[in-house]
Symmetry: C3
């Protein structure tokens, strides 16, 4: 559809592997990519509410450099915020710039892709439909950390294909914590080593590594921390500062039972 309507556009497939219906996973993927997507047209669809009252929107950002096209269900909002917020937005109500649909269930093909293609061809945002107040766009919700009993309560944002569990924790949040940190989750706890690179960890050693997006990830060298420890995206995690001399109560490779609320 993109090629048919906008033959000159270059199409880059960021991913087709967002889990079905997982708007949050899609939104976080866009955030990870956002700084590399400008200028351009971004088409994103994770759309469990397709065919219902949720709006289809196009959101202009960066003084007109980029437009994000997709459902108004929070998918786009974190990326929009990250690049400075929405300048203008429209609801994709102009059926003349859409494909005739066999059914109401494939907005990606029939509504969003044509909108992205027309934008790539230079069609003005306001031709795609009615302007909407950018303040009415459904916001994204990025979880924040909290201090609880001296611990840092945080959350797994994403598990990458290597099994690294990215936390919503800035490396600076651990400044002064030293080299050893207790990582606790619903199913257990482990003492982790704060390391600069995956390759600096010994076999079986849980690490806290600043990942390529600048966030702290729970890692195991050459194996999946998520699968080994039994954690997944959305899980709550607690980080506890350990003195370098504190007994930590956990031997290398041994997981200790613990209770952490699950989100």
């Amino acid at each position: 559809v993109l090629r048919s309507l906008a033959p000159a556009a270059h199409v880059i497939d960021i991913t087709h592997e967002i889990p079905p219906h997982d708007v949050r996973a899609g939104a976080l993927c866009l955030v990870r990519s956002a700084q590399h997507l400008c200028p351009g047209i971004v088409l994103a669809v994770v759309d469990p509410g397709v065919g219902t009252a949720r709006r289809a929107v196009a959101v202009e950002v960066g003084g007109g450099q980029s437009v994000l096209v997709g459902p108004d269900n929070g998918l786009l909002s974190m990326a929009v915020s990250m690049v400075g917020g929405a300048d203008r937005a429209v609801s994709l109500t102009n059926a003349a710039l859409q494909l005739p649909s066999a059914g109401p269930t494939f907005a990606g093909r029939d509504i969003f892709a044509p909108a992205a293609a027309h934008l790539a061809n230079g069609v003005d945002l306001l031709e795609l439909g009615d302007a909407v107040d950018t303040a009415t766009l459904v916001p994204g919700v990025l979880p924040v950390t909290a201090e609880e009993d001296g611990d840092l309560a945080c959350e797994v944002l994403w598990v990458d294909r290597y099994g690294n569990a990215q936390l919503n924790v800035d490396p600076a949040d651990l400044d002064g914590w030293g080299r050893r940190v207790q990582v606790a989750w619903e199913g257990g706890s482990r003492t982790a080593t704060v390391a600069r690179a995956y390759g600096d960890l010994a076999a079986g050693e849980v690490g806290l590594v600043a990942d390529s997006y600048g966030l702290v990830a729970v890692s195991l060298p050459r194996s999946s921390a998520a699968a080994t420890l039994g954690i997944e995206a959305g899980d709550r995690i607690r980080l506890r500062r350990l003195g370098d001399d504190d007994p930590d109560g956990t031997e290398a490779g041994v997981t200790t039972a613990v209770h952490v609320r699950r989100n």
Copy 2:
């Protein structure tokens, strides 16, 4: 190979995820895409008979607008029919327009891709090999529905990545059936609601929804109907009309045992 032989061609990857050896799945995928593939060259390979006597062919359709290239095993035929039938066809016998093969097992790389590339470069169809009678091309077999004891006997054509089970049923086939339909398969039966969009279904409610290809699909909102009900592509399904006041014998979320022949 395509880039080497036809540097100016735009290559679009429709899918690399057809199950191995599943010619029918590949054929149905082409049918779903067919209306968006014209004009152009379509290269399709699901080819369990590679290296045997099955022919390699190129089939021209649409008055020369498009050519489909692939094995003559029924993979291309349904798509060819859908766009009006074959105008001309050749068997890919001209070795001068193929790559030298290390073995007889990779026609996609050595025979089909070069043929598609040469066509994209403007080489005439008849240079690729000997003309063949289009009536001799292996036909595709699209299952038809039948009335059995007042029920509509149909079949699962495809399960999409969300677990929606597409049937070979036109929404018009259910005109006048009302809002409640019994869906029966080999392993059980459920009362389904005829709905306009996935989002119009309540949690756990089985729906019959006109999908994005204009066919009726068995769906569960935000979960996989195929996995939940235990149905897959090729399974036989029976649809039974229920009066709006009929007791339906099935509670929401409860599957009742039933016997339906499997294909």
Copy 3:
């Protein structure tokens, strides 16, 4: 990143499906593709040592026709050898031609992709960093076959998506062996038929087929030999010549227990 830095480059995704951390699998994939990748820039990343002392390199081959970019961990070396060896190489030390990194863990995005993009734009190899002696590049290790007690001891290089198990065996190695060969692995043995094409095998018949890369593969028609026989990449295999009249001790479809050392 490639599009941003080299808008005119054509990007072809060979695969994103190398198993995590499996340098050998990545290296063999490059070897299979190598003859089709020239001229051009090849970007390859399987990099468990990212962020450690392993070098990031760019290796020029073919009298300047191609450059391979990636970690110096053996990933590139077999492909480099296959196309005639390295002409020049540099360590990617020029930070001015890299992206500023959020962490040390994403060399693909921040170091290798920018290097490939700059090369595609015509930047000279030596601008990317310090020249290194090509003799110091980490070599790849392609396993060789050996005769053991009259058998051919070999190894599974790769299992393709159809379950064919490619061996490091040239079809010429089996010249004069006749039509029946015993295939033995850690878990058992089977009598295989030397065949020209998968389609020439009967159902359930294990075949030795020259695959599309010109190597012998253990195959089962329309099913996965690797899954059925329980073999995987890296497994040791022994091939034993059988006279056409020898009783072979294995019935069709029956696997006989045997002991072969695993690598």
